[in-house]
Structure formats: C-alpha cells, structure tokens
C-alpha cells in the first residue's frame, strides 16, 4: 500500500511540472502579477505561476497588465514589465564550469540583476536593434518604438553595439544611458521613476512601518533610527542597515571596495610630525636637554648677531668635549660655528680674525650664527 501511495505521489509531482520539452531548467518564476505566459521550445504556451520552472530557449510574454520576476540558477534575477516579450535563448547554467547569460528582448522593458554568470564575463541582451553587454552589473533595458535604451544601474560597465552600424560604446557611469546613438547622459529621476513603476507596479498606498502598526511584531531590537525600524518591522531584516550608512562608499557587484583614504594619510602625519617627514635639519636636531637653545633671549634666528649667555657653556651637553658634531661644541674641529675654531676663515669670534665684529677684544661674547 505504501508503494502505491508513493507511486501516486510521484505521478502527481510529474504532472505538476509543466511540459518543458525536456529542456534544461534554468530558472523558476519567483513572482507573477497577475499573469505571465511561457512557451518552451517545442511546447505549447501556458500560464506561469509562482514556482513554475523556466527552461532554456523558452519565450516569456506578459500582457498589458502582467509582470513578473524570474530567478535563475546562476542567481540572476530578471524582472519583466507589462507588454514585454523575452526569449531565454542563450541562458546556460553549469555549476561546474562557466555558464552564460544571454537573452533577447523583442519588446518591452526588463531589469537585469546579474548573477554568477555575469561576474567575469558579459551577460548579453539582444534587441532587434542592439546587443548589450553587461559586466558585473545590473541594468534596466527597454526596447520600444524601434529604439533600445540601456541604463547601467550598478557594476563595472555596460556596452551597447548598434546593429545598424556595428559601433560599440560603453559606459561605466552608474545611471549612464546608452542608445544606438551612443552615450545619452545620466538617467533623469522622472524617467527612472516611470520605468521602475512599470516594472514593479506603483508603490502600495497601504504601505506602513510595521514596527508602528499594532505594536509591531518583529525583532525586539533596542536600536534606533533606520536600523531599529527595520529590526522591529522586518524581524531583523537582512542586516544591511547595520553595515551601510550615508558615509559608506560604493561596493562592486563582486563585493570589491576601493580604498579611498589611501592618498590622504600622509597629510596629518606630516603635519604632526616633522620627525617623520625628514624636516629636521641634520646636525641641528635638538639634543635632549637643550631645548632652551631656541629661546629668543638665547638665539634670535633673524638676527645674525646674538649674545650667547654664559649659562649655555654650563650646559653639560653643550660642553661635551667629545661630541664630534655637537653644533656649538667649543672644541669641535669641524663645527661650523665653533667660536674657537682656528681654521674657520669666517668664524665671527675667531680670536685672530681682524674683521670679527664680535672679537672678544671688542668687549663681550657675540657669536654670529651662520645658517646651516
């Protein structure tokens, strides 16, 4: 008896699957509003309902009020507007090898959101007047009045080849519009709103924040703002509000991010630390403990003649007799401002320099600080 029941269930399951002409199932109808029809190769036309299989080379049509979404095995999602016809003539999914996403739009409008197949190679959408290549991308495409318009929604790039003259043009501008005549500028908000409303239907007038309707019922979140509203109204949602804020930079369809701060880091570091930007003068890096050197009453930089107070000579660092490059070491033989350097021809306080204005014989100790 159990075998008989099992056989019957199998028969019912087989009967429930539409005739696909034995073609490869490449997708499934994810939503229909209110109707959509499909014609598999070699098969008859039938209504599509949510959950219906979609096979390779199948033709999908919508009426003036019908629209729907198809989810493909490679995770591409296609949204079809009313009054449209598409043929899934080059859609191949192979889990173990490169697949291919290709279809024809013979009339109407569609939204293409790429899946695995279009990450590393172009998805191809043909219209009677153009071939559109979409790489790592999502796009909105219309073919009406014998003209193709393709809008790059997101991703790496979108190219359109006009069949009439074979000219191929590409854009990588998000929101960029391509036609047979080339780049047509950025999409305007009104055109975009009209197109999305055709694909998705008008927004529901009954839409409300569920978190505020009858006390909500979703996640018991203590977050506020957008994230809190989503948590409570959509049982936590996808969590995207926790990751993305107004300051977030865009991410590619492969999840790639550009490091926008890479050329900015040196600015503050150079500002805060002359040490790291090599701006200390060699030979005149302030030794620890003699910071008072630059006190205005000790050395006045703008004045070439300054009096050197005797306390400096009491400084143990300054008087270090063995420091070879101590800037004012009194006995350093190569010190450029050594006051007693016997071989320095311009030493201002050289005791034997006849033109030295600070010659000790003139009274007091005056040292000219020669710029290094």
């Amino acid at each position: 008896m159990r075998h008989l029941i099992g056989l019957c269930l199998t028969c019912i399951a087989i009967a429930a699957v539409p005739d696909t002409g034995h073609s490869q199932q490449i997708g499934v109808v994810a939503s229909v509003q209110p109707n959509m029809r499909g014609t598999p190769p070699g098969g008859g036309t039938s209504s599509k309902s949510t959950g219906s299989a979609v096979v390779a080379d199948e033709t999908i049509t919508t009426s003036g009020s019908g629209r729907g979404q198809i989810m493909f095995r490679d995770r591409t999602t296609l949204t079809i507007s009313p009054n449209s016809e598409i043929v899934l003539d080059e859609f191949i999914f192979n889990a173990n090898a490169d697949g291919k996403s290709g279809l024809s739009l013979t009339r109407g409008a569609l939204r293409f959101i790429g899946g695995k197949n279009s990450r590393d190679q172009d998805a191809t959408i043909r219209t009677p007047t153009a071939i559109i290549g979409v790489r790592g991308s999502s796009a909105l495409i219309t073919y009406e009045n014998n003209q193709t318009r393709a809008i790059l929604v997101a991703g790496d790039k979108l190219c359109l080849e006009a069949l009439e003259n074979g000219v191929n043009n590409c854009t990588n501008r998000q929101g960029g519009v391509m036609t047979e005549n080339g780049y047509a500028g950025q999409v305007n908000q009104a055109e975009l709103a009209q197109l999305i409303a055709r694909l998705d239907g008008p927004p529901s007038a009954e839409a409300r924040f569920q978190s505020l309707q009858n006390g909500g019922g979703g996640d018991d979140s203590d977050a506020s703002g957008v994230r809190g509203a989503i948590d409570r109204g959509l049982a936590g949602g996808s969590g995207i509000a926790s990751k993305i804020g107004p300051r977030s930079n865009p991410t590619s369809s492969r999840g790639a991010l550009r490091d926008y701060t890479v050329f900015e880091d040196d600015v503050r570091d150079d500002a805060i630390a002359g040490l790291t930007s090599s701006q200390e003068t060699p030979g005149f890096i302030e030794p620890d403990g003699i910071d008072d050197l630059s006190e205005p009453d000790m050395i006045v930089a703008d004045d070439p003649f300054v009096e050197l107070d005797t306390p400096v000579f009491d400084d143990p660092v300054m008087n270090d007799p063995i420091d070879p490059i101590d800037p004012i070491d009194p006995i350093d033989p190569i010190d450029p401002i050594d006051p007693v350097d016997p071989v320095d021809p311009v030493d201002p306080v050289d005791p034997v320099d006849p033109i030295d204005p600070g010659d000790p014989g003139g009274g007091g100790i005056v040292i000219e600080i020669e710029p290094l």
């Binding site: 993305i244 369809s253 550009r258 880091d265 150079d270 040490l275 090599s278 003699i290």
Partner: protein, 411 residues
C-alpha cells in the same frame, strides 16, 4: 612628563604588520564557510521562492559576503511579495545605495519618506542618505571638513590647539567613461603657545584629472597631478615643494587593492632663516586588504630623496607603514552612526649622506584615533601620536608625543 621609549614597542609594530599578512587567509576561510551556507539556502529558496524567511536568510548571508547585488535581487522579490511592509523597501534602498546605484536608491528612499507613519528619526536619517546620494551623482561636488580642538604635547609643547581644514572639489568630466578632475586642499595646524618649536603648519594643494584606465567602475585609475606642499614649523626648519606626481590604484579582488605614487619636483628648505633650493623625488607602493567591509588593513613602503643645491641637507628616507581601520556602530545613542578606529605604525630609515661621518637615523611611530560620528555630520575625534627619532648622534634623539581631541564637521 611621560617617559616613553617607542623602540620598546617594536614587537607590537611588527605584530600589526604581521596581522595585515595573516588575516587574509583566515578571513578567506570564514568566507568560504559562509558561501557554502548561502548555497544551501539558495537551493531551498529556489524550490520555495516565496518563502519570506528563506529570502531574508539569503539576504542576510549575502550582506555578510558583501554581495549587495544578491541582496538587491532578493529584496526586490520581498518588496514585490510584501508591498505593505515599508521596512523591506527601506532595506532595498540601502542595498542600492551600497552598490552605488544612487538614483534608484533615491527613488525608494523618497517612497519610504512619504509613508504617513514614518518616524521622524527615520526620516532624518533617510534625508542624510538622499543628500549624500544627490551629491555623489551631481556633475560636481565639494566635500570637506573643518575641525578644531585642544592638543597636548607631552615631551615638548604643553597645552595647544589643533585645527584642520579639508576640501575636495570633484568635477565629473563629460563623456561615457567616468573621468573626473579632483582638487584637494588640506591644511593642518598644531599650535603650542608656550613652545613655538613644536608648532607646525602643514598645507597641501593638489589638483589633476583622475582617469579610468580600463573603463570599468572598479578598475584601474590613474591620476596625474600637480601639488604644492608646505610644512612650516617655528624651529626654523621649513620645507616646501612644488611638483608633479602620478597616483595609480586598482582593485584586484573583492578584498585586495593596490596603489602606487611617484612625485617629484622642486624643493625649498628654510634652515635657520636661510633658503636652500633643491629637488626631491618620492614614491610609495602598497596594498590594502579589506578583511570585512568595516575592517581595512594596509601596508605600504615609501621612499624619498631630498637633494639640495648646497648638499648639506641632502637626505634619503625609506620607510614601511602599517595601517588598521575599523568602523563599527556607536555603542551609545543613535546606533546607525558609525564610529571609526584607526591605528598605524611606521618605521623610517633616514640617511644624511653629506655629513661626515654619514648620519643614519631610525624613526619609529605609532598612532591611534577614535572618531565618533554624530548627528548633522558633526564628529568628535581623539588622537594620539607617538614618534621617536633614534640616532647614533649623541644627544640628538628626539621624541614627540601629542594627543588631541577635536570637534569637527563634515560637509
């Protein structure tokens, strides 16, 4: 006064470098596990395409994997199935925003904002999204910041003030390929009224086009530029440059990107009141690794050579620097506000070939900052920078330890 030997922290610095190199494979393993889980959920969803729980689970896993295109496609189906749950459309708007599809994000944000029972704080946050989205699609935009706050130099300086200004003017060049002309202005000042030696002002003006080399949004970019830089510190050791440079950056994979910079030009140093002219050439080569959307690790190698006409201040610097940035949600108040923690460590080797004997220094630095973003684009940022010069020259070692707390506003 705090006594601090940065050289003692070199193991930590190298650990940060190692972290950059080691975290990669670890994160890849976690990603593989998430991928397998998502494959399983997709198969279930393929069999039951209207199951809301499966859709949200698939979207959640896709968010973790930074696959926002799959988040968008799934949420489009959720909105189609549950048009009255406006929170789903709000998520869809954010997902489009994450992909850089700003016009469509604005479309959905506007619908959500018009819902009769939209909470005011949600409307305010949506307005932030839409304003920034409008800026990003505008033919030209100016972004920037202004900041100021108290600073303190521990070794030298004492109490002071840090101020900063940044402006970035971006003009989109016409045509199908997204090229732009970018002009940056940066000015930063650390002012210590009781210690002029520590006061420093840094200025940068840089302008040039940014070209998309391969015509792909996330592909290679090349930016030739002209730059004027000036560093003025009141201990008479100023450095100004005017030169030309070339920046290259490319995104190699979802996690890795690379960059390189070369710059060269004329140099003027003012040492103890006297100007010395010369030339400079500098370069930088590095890689950035996004361990997650919110965690960035970066390693760069840099070099610079200054040659002056009198040869006295010639110097060559080689360096390595590691950076860590991590963004996270505010633990207080509005949890949608992101905070940002940054840290860096660097080692520079500096050589003065004209001195006899040739002088060779090592410069060690570590720094960290914590930025708390607040409402209306205001932020508070606490910073600490510790730098130390180690040299063979007796008594010439220096330290600089500065902390600051600035209040800023982005625009």
């Amino acid at each position: 006064m705090i006594s601090f030997r940065l050289q003692n922290f070199m193991p930590q610095l190298w650990a940060l470098v190692a972290l950059v190199l080691v975290l990669g494979p670890g994160a890849a393993s976690a990603q593989s596990s998430l991928e397998a889980e998502r494959d399983r959920v997709f198969e279930a969803m393929f069999q039951d395409p209207t199951n809301l729980d499966l859709m949200l689970e698939y979207a959640r896993l896709s968010v973790e994997l930074r696959d926002y295109e799959q988040v968008v496609s799934t949420l489009e189906r959720v909105v189609d199935q549950e048009p009255n749950i406006v929170e789903a459309r709000l998520e869809l708007a954010i997902a489009y925003y994450a992909l850089g599809a700003y016009e469509i994000a604005i479309y959905h944000f506007d619908i959500v904002r018009a819902v009769p029972n939209a909470p005011p704080e949600v409307v305010a946050e949506i307005t932030q999204f839409t304003e920034r989205a409008e800026d990003r699609v505008a033919p030209q935009s100016i972004e920037g910041f202004i900041e100021a706050g108290p600073a303190y130099g521990f070794v030298d300086g004492g109490a002071g003030i840090e101020t900063g200004l940044g402006l970035t003017w971006r003009v989109s060049l016409p045509g199908a390929t997204a090229h732009s002309w970018i002009t940056d202005l940066r000015a930063q000042n650390l002012y210590f009224p009781d210690d002029d030696n520590e006061t420093v002002t840094y200025f940068l003006l840089r302008t040039g086009p940014e070209f998309s080399l391969d015509g792909e949004t996330y592909g290679a970019k090349l930016r030739p530029y002209l730059a004027v830089r000036s560093s003025v510190d009141f201990d008479l050791e100023d450095r100004s440059t005017a030169g030309a440079g070339l920046q290259y950056s490319n995104v190699f994979s979802p996690s890795w990107s690379g960059f390189a910079v070369v710059e060269g030009g004329a140099l003027r140093r003012r040492d103890l009141g006297e100007d010395v002219d010369g030339s400079f050439v500098s370069g930088q080569l590095g890689a950035s690794y996004f361990a997650s959307r919110t965690t960035l690790l970066r390693l760069s190698f840099r070099g610079r050579q200054d040659s002056t006409d009198d040869d006295r201040t010639d110097q060559t610097t080689w360096g390595v620097r590691a950076d860590l940035r991590h963004a996270f949600l505010s633990p207080f108040g509005n949890r949608s506000q992101q905070w940002l923690f940054s840290a860096y460590g660097l080692v520079n080797w500096q050589r003065f070939p004209s001195l006899t004997p040739v002088r060779e220094d090592r410069i060690y630095g570590i720094g960290a900052s914590l930025r708390a973003n607040m409402r209306r684009d205001f932020y508070v940022e606490a910073r600490a920078d510790l730098l130390e010069r180690d040299t063979d020259v007796v008594g010439a070692a220096t330290k600089r330890q500065v902390v600051s707390l600035v209040l800023g506003k982005e625009f």
